[in-house]
Symmetry: D2
């Protein structure tokens, strides 16, 4: 069985999720497409890199990502750093002929994303962008039902991503609130997950018309080298710095296939934690999903008999996408980890088959163009076509 | 106790609901502000008027609404007819000095609504438009919590009204699909209920930006004098006539107070029956409501203690608005009837106190302007300010 | 159309519900089986009787139920008094040849109930006991699906009725806490509703094995002539009197047809308001119901296709039992009132057809025997067979 | 950081879950109490052992558990085999001075469990029984709230565990349907999880009174060496063998502290997948949990203000038990894996601190006694005291 040596750049909670997936993927999907080997983990701080090595079970630690990218024994570069470093690392990795998985959003802008796409297309790398939520089995089931025509032609899509970790004006000034690092706020951070759902499930988006808004213009600064987020985490008495990104976005959508839709995303929705939802109405039925109850897909078929029509609460299990690799009984429990294990499975499959996975940098680039268009429309108040 | 003689124009299911409310209101709210007397019911067809009299417990039947409106013994004109006759009847009733309750939407357009508003303002009538859903106790509780500042300043509003009774292309060509009678489709029929929620709970709407769409351009014609609606009700083999109204609308909203929001309404959402919802995020908490589970309001307070934060599922009862008049225990059961009983209570209270109820024709007119703006924006693709 | 003159004995919130049903039933079910006429309302206090007359729209008021029962113009005696007076009134009514609807439970004990059953059987009266919850359309749908064999043979039944209005030790000493008036506590008051569901949906109960418990042995006494209930209603400083009934019951069930089951009822379940539920598993599917969300029945069919199996959330409407008489769209809203309107429809139908309705005094008697057996088993700790 | 060498006996889906936990635990809980090392995996079939080694990332494979148990370099014996082999392996492991984690139920009977408890008590081993569900953060939160007195004294407990994987009479004759291997059916397999909840959250159980029933007396035999389970997995045409265990159990409970309760468990509940629930009512509030929506705990406090009382839907996250080690935002997603990662963390903590974890073999033994009592009561129809 082929081994694939992984170099993971950056840590944080994403490092945890990715490392777990590398270790667990073959346990779930067996025979595995390949065995990922946790070779080297990189952090700009050597001490933190060594801690990450011990914690995440990597063989080596390094503070020099360029050196690591250049190593001939590395197969996969896994980019878990803040958004502003994605492009530089990915382009270097592509030039070195590596396969790449990059955390979302692909980059800060469409333009920046395009440089990454150009690089991987030139190098022939396998490339993937980590919009993991579409790998929730219930979301993959929605895709399957749509592809099989079981809800007919799609009329509309409504998606939301609501969180509350930044609703407190005293929650700290993370890099996620700084345009130079993050590119945008809610739009890029969570709105793009819903855009990924929309493209995956309905099809290409032709144009958008958006409202984009900042609610909290300053936040408490954090000490150098620290980056916390979340309710209650801030220091009320700390000096405050400017937030130059959006807290909330609303957009209407026109799809290329004629469907219409909307997306709402905010990190200021008290009581919503990871309320990533969609509802889709078709000419033969409907689907609804809420990631907070991610074992379930709501499925309605118009031709169900008269006195027993209604949304079915389908718990995903062995009969559903990825089911053979996951747990033997529905509702045994899909967590965040499982979405990352499936992602890892699809990445390794792509590498051994040589067939690009989805979403890849092409998708990441198109999503970035849509994010750009949302921001542009938010300023102009006009419909903006996607290039 | 003062008696108020009611003349009800038109029947259908609304006649049932209103008649029940007239009979039941004093049973629920005692001492009642007044005793409504079901004096006369009007239908253009004399035989149907007499049936309505027997069925709905009125003293008299008539086929001549003009004659009834002119009767000096009538206090209240209750308009339950299709939208295209609202203005003529209401203006005549106002000229005759009657108090008026008119089913929603107030009229087919803002302009037509304005003629009605002018008439009641000239006559000094008490006037009400029957957006009954805001009288669901859980919605009234939302209003109370907002007014008391318990969720802070409102950041946004998201409302939906999803039904599926017209999703079947063979459901019949009711008057609700004909612009000349209805004025518009989903926008006026159900979208206006959400607009009413938005204005009631958040405040005046300053501008809108909408998508408006027809999905099903023709439907089977019905026999003369018949007007059915609903899934499965149509005759596939009947001649088809054109639908010239919208099936679906999406709109973004800017409120005068700076909040933003969105509304989605459709009658083509398979599996949704009366899915009238809102979610509101404020600087101190959130609210969420779904009429399909109308005994409940979801309430979240940001300052709840750390390990016990979350939406509370509050079942309305005696401790809530209108609670003293309704049932003695929460969840004993609020149905459509109760919303109409409360509406009748508020109408009678308004008449005996001389203080206009809400929503009144002023509200109905403003809602009609917003509906017009949604339709205009749907054509232009531009933000449209509300006059 | 035949008219049926009603004399209602007792008021309270039940008087409201019944009076509304008499007024509204023909509005909903037309042509009505008969037109109920609110002839006379009785209260031991003449002044309260007159208030009830005005409030509930009766023609006359009386303080003498015996005189009313004797009146030849009365067709129906409607008993809404506390449990200890049911037998005396019902027996007198039967002797006078009246049709009778009696609030639940039928009487304080099986023995007392038997005297009532004997009386109505001797007189040939139509008789009904007001277990209204089975007339919720979703419950009637469950019955229909079971009768049609759509969930196969029933394996088990689990029912609960959880409330919290007496959870506060300072909630007042209502008659519902006094054995001499109520007969029992939770068992008779709410447990019997679940027993009614069990018999209606599954079949006759053969034996029970129960735990019965009092949690709060004393409560604040109320002033003479006052009888409030509910959280927060009590006077902490008032003299306390003994509670000699149960606060909670658990019972296991063996049905005559081999199914098994359980019932839990309590009025001390903080956070549960009217949590009347059942879940039924059969050899071909399952059903689940919660009255707090009473527009819905959860329906699961075992033979649904592999990737779309799950409980369907069916909202009742025109396609379901009683649907033609109720509202034109599912989820428009079933409240407590609608259950009573349906009950009135079935009572009047029974009277005009001469065919006993269900549940009638025979059912009420059998339910009383089961309640007795639960109390007996609660003391003995043994299985108790139902006679 | 101390390393702990693990020998895992047996595989199947439990092997996957445990292996993942060994790999992932330090990634989540850092600094980890110890680093588990996947040293050797054992299967009676050498080839399957080698496959398990490669798949689950162990260093070695063996077909001889006795030899492995005797190895001096092994710290932990992890028993994932069918129930009938637990005792022999555990006793040998204890004699060899190993720490032990054993899958649930501890053994087939109380008597058998006692031999295991005696062995570990004699050896001084750290011992744990893998009732993992109590390590769901929402369940641990329930424990915390109860211990802090926030719902007052507990009045009752209602637990269920409903599945449907054996509802089909043609699902195969797994060892789980054979008393000689499994000890019992639903009682031991899933009922014991609820018993674990009851003891953990409420306290020791004093006596039980149960109904125990087999619904499907024969099932299709499987080929030698194969053991599948689940709907649709069976061969209708295969020879059938006898099922000598229970399919369903109901029991009433009396706790030593005066609380009462009930448990229902079945694997024949169509539409329920992993419906492991509890509801607890106390004198100051209530709790409710459903593992199918395991990120959530429903929490109700009686002293919440009058118009905002209701169950709070609390999504567990960093503010809750185990939160610092899991995901940074509530509802990011707790799956089955996370429960096992937490279990592994608690096991390793116990070993390095020398303090027995909970539930340990003492708990496993007491749970086995309760399972025995349920079976005994199911036959006798009497209350059975727990020794």
């Amino acid at each position: 069985m082929r081994k694939l040596n992984v170099a993971m750049i950056g840590g944080g909670f994403m490092g945890k999720a990715h490392a777990m997936a590398y270790a667990a993927m073959p346990m779930f999907f067996w025979p595995a497409p390949a065995i990922p080997v946790r070779k080297v983990v990189v952090d700009v701080n050597q001490e933190m890199a060594e801690t990450a090595r011990d914690r995440f079970g990597f063989e080596e630690a390094s503070a020099d990502w360029r050196a690591v990218v250049a190593r001939p024994d590395i197969d996969i570069i896994d980019i878990c750093t803040p958004n502003n470093s994605h492009a530089e690392i990915a382009i270097a990795a592509a030039k070195a002929g590596k396969h790449i998985i990059c955390e979302k959003p692909l980059a800060r802008t469409g333009e920046e994303s395009k440089t990454m796409l150009d690089a991987v297309q030139a190098s022939g790398s396998i490339h993937m962008v980590a919009f993991n939520y579409r790998r929730t089995p219930a979301v993959a089931l929605a895709k399957k039902l749509i592809e099989e025509g079981r809800i007919g032609d799609i009329l509309n899509f409504r998606g939301t991503y609501l969180q509350d970790w930044s609703a407190d004006p005293d929650s700290p000034l993370s890099w996620r609130f700084q345009k130079s690092v993050a590119g945008s706020g809610t739009v890029g951070d969570i709105g793009t997950h819903v855009v990924d759902f929309a493209r995956y499930l309905v099809g290409e988006i032709a144009s958008v018309n958006a409202l984009v808004k900042n609610h909290i213009p300053t936040r408490p600064k954090q000490a150098e080298g620290v980056d916390k987020l979340g309710v209650g985490g801030g220091d009320k008495n700390a000096e405050r710095g400017p937030v130059d990104v959006d807290d909330e976005m609303l957009t209407m959508l026109k799809f290329a296939n004629g469907a219409i839709g909307s997306i709402e995303a905010t990190r200021n929705a008290y009581g919503r934690n990871n309320f990533l939802t969609f509802e889709i109405h078709g000419t033969k039925g409907s689907l609804a999903f809420n990631y907070e109850r991610r074992d379930e897909l709501q499925v309605m078929f118009a031709d169900d008999i008269g006195d027993a029509r209604g949304f079915r609460t389908v718990y995903t299990g062995p009969a559903h996408p990825y089911g053979s690799g996951l747990w033997p009984i529905p509702a045994l429990g899909i967590g965040y980890g499982e979405t990352k294990i499936v992602e890892c499975f699809d990445l390794c499959t792509a590498i051994v088959t040589g067939k690009q996975p989805s979403p890849n940098f092409e998708d990441g680039y198109r999503i970035a163009l849509i994010a750009d268009a949302i921001l542009t429309s938010g300023e102009s108040g006009q419909w903006v076509d996607i290039a």
